[in-house]
């Protein structure tokens, strides 16, 4: 089984330095892109490969790029931004790439920047990823020294400046337009779309924001071609995927597997199944802002279309497992408290609705719930739907809540009837 994203990563060992990375075939993708392909041809190869965004939304990467104005008439500077602000609860996959193979990250960023003819690239990294910060800084310095960054890269005539920006917290910074405001030195509040960042992004210039894992596929697509990339997958979506599992499983971790591997295989074979004494009850397939799935969904392949058909979203692909000793109401309370706290406060349904749901849930957990609370919670999941808010934050927050009300209704009702949480 091919594992292009993680092939250089050895757990517990420092990442490859520049010469080691070159010996492992590194920077061949970039060389090939610069020498043999025009930016538009790179875009087309990626579109052919059917690479979709790994940050959560799953938008086709080639299509995203295709809206950037190109050629002589395009406004400059154009920007490429690596979204390394991994903060979705239960998600720990980009960390592996950033710490494990920083040169892959940088090569990937340069290829993406070339594909949209960007002048400047930023890696937007969360503050807490200290080891990634150190390793990226070192790798960037090596790359400048050896002509992979800066003016006239490898004699191609293409120039790119790349900077590492280390943020100062807040989950909403990972939302692409909020990230742009944050980079401009403002409060990280999402922007209305249109205009889309591809046309008017950072300081009003054409900008692409791509997730770490999404980008790290690029050198491999350029090296091996779109047909190879599609064949890695067991589904229509190209490539491998970094899947993860956390919660009370025997071997929590991140696993690079073919896109479309089933939930059962990830849970039982790779994560080792449930810990002794625990039974599986459900899971969030791709981070905190995805709908619960349950036992009936274990054979669902983890690709964008299949998970959607099952009533949830692939999201980040890192699953959070709920076991039979953990209270589903308490878990949802924890999630909604997180969302209420991290709401940027810009629009009303999110700013006021989320603290309200968190309050109701904590009343339920404390045995102070009343029968009407379940209607109130259901009402909120409708009020927080897409179209009622500025960005996808609140609709994401509604997903675990609405599905918990559906799958774990009895638990909610028991809390109200017994006036206590039976799990604590």
């Amino acid at each position: 089984m091919e594992q292009p994203l993680t092939k250089n990563i050895r757990p517990g060992e420092p990442p490859l330095d520049l010469s080691g990375y070159e010996r492992a075939g590194g920077y061949q993708g970039l060389r090939q892109a610069l020498r043999q392909k025009t930016p538009k041809q790179v875009q087309e190869e990626v579109t052919q490969a059917n690479l979709r965004g790994r940050g959560g939304a799953g938008f086709p990467t080639g299509m995203k790029w295709s809206f950037v104005p190109m050629g002589d008439g395009a406004p400059h500077p154009k920007y490429l931004i690596v979204n390394a602000d991994e903060m979705e609860p239960g998600t720990f996959k980009d960390r592996l790439l950033l710490e494990g193979d920083p040169h892959l990250m940088i090569e990937s960023a340069i290829i993406a920047a070339y594909a949209i003819e960007a002048d400047i690239a930023y890696i937007f990294l969360r503050w807490e990823y200290k080891l990634a910060e150190q390793r990226l800084e070192k790798a960037i310095a090596e790359d400048y020294e050896h002509g992979y960054l800066g003016k006239n890269i490898l004699g191609s005539g293409y120039s790119l400046e790349l900077y590492l920006h280390v943020s100062a917290g807040r989950y909403i910074c990972g939302e692409e337009t909020a990230l742009l405001n944050s980079l401009e030195g403002k409060r990280a509040i999402p922007r209305a779309k249109p205009p889309f960042p591809q046309v008017s992004g950072l300081w009003g210039k054409p900008t692409i924001v791509n997730n770490v894992e999404t980008l790290c596929n690029l050198p491999h697509i350029i090296n091996n071609g779109a047909a190879w990339f599609k064949k890695l997958s067991r589904s229509g979506d190209g490539g491998t995927k970094l899947y993860g599992a956390s919660g009370k499983v025997k071997k929590p971790g991140v696993f690079e597997l073919p896109m479309g591997t089933t939930i059962r295989e990830i849970l039982e074979e790779h994560a080792g199944g449930m810990r002794d004494g625990c039974k599986f009850r459900g899971l969030l397939p791709g981070g905190a802002s995805t709908d619960f799935l349950t036992e009936e969904h274990l054979d669902v392949p983890m690709d964008y279309g299949s998970v959607e058909k099952a009533g949830s979203r692939l999201g980040t692909g890192t699953m959070i497992v709920l076991d039979d000793q953990t209270c589903p109401v308490g878990m949802v309370q924890n999630l909604e408290k997180f969302f209420a706290q991290e709401s940027c406060g810009w629009c009303t349904p999110c700013r006021d609705g989320l603290p309200w749901t968190a309050k109701i849930l904590s009343a339920l957990e404390d045995g102070r719930g009343e029968p009407r609370d379940l209607e109130r919670l259901a009402l909120h999941t409708r009020l927080l739907r897409p179209g009622n808010t500025f960005c996808a934050f609140a609709p994401g927050a509604a997903e675990p809540l609405q599905s918990a009300l559906k799958y774990f209704r009895e638990d909610f009702e028991n809390h109200i009837r017994d006036k206590r949480c039976a799990y604590s």
Binding site: E86, P89, Y122, E184, G247, V254, I320
Partner: protein, 154 residues
């Protein structure tokens, strides 16, 4: 007054952006690195240096949870309270820390050694529960071993 080395570090960051004020988050972090937190006086100095009003800068400073606008202890303990850590026993870690230090979230010990704060998912969910002390990640935290961990931070 900003020191020369603070100014130099802020200048180095500002060169990365098309506009000076974009460096304001970096500038706040520079000051915090040197002084532990961002006082009203520091805030005014940074604002002046970046040609912003203090209100504009405070608007930004108060948004980001890792910019401290109040004094903190010598060591800052961030306790992950997100979902995977919650499932894996965050509550016992928090309780134990509170008992040992005699403080709750948002508080600093009387000897100004530790400040205790919650943090969102630290992105190390396969090693939950997790905490971070001064940027050092501690994973698979066993509440019984917290004393030994704290002892490393004098």
């Amino acid at each position: 007054m900003l020191t020369e080395s603070e100014k130099k570090e802020i200048e180095a960051e500002a060169r990365h952006y098309a506009y000076k004020r974009a460096a304001c988050v970096d500038a706040l972090k520079v000051v915090q690195r040197h002084r532990g937190w961002v006082s009203d006086e520091s805030l005014r100095d940074v604002a002046e240096y970046l040609e912003m009003t203090p209100d504009e800068l405070d608007n930004v400073a108060t948004f980001y949870n890792l910019i401290f606008r109040k004094p903190v202890g010598k060591h800052v303990i961030l306790v992950c309270d997100s979902v995977s850590c919650w499932i894996m026993g965050y509550e016992r870690v928090r309780q134990r820390l509170s008992e040992r230090l005699g403080i709750g979230f948002g508080e600093t010990t009387a000897d100004e050694r530790f400040t205790l704060l919650p943090i969102v998912c630290l992105g190390t969910c396969d090693h939950a529960p997790a905490i971070m002390i001064d940027g050092d990640l501690c994973r698979d935290v066993d509440p019984e071993k917290l004393d030994a961990i704290l002892a490393q931070y004098r």
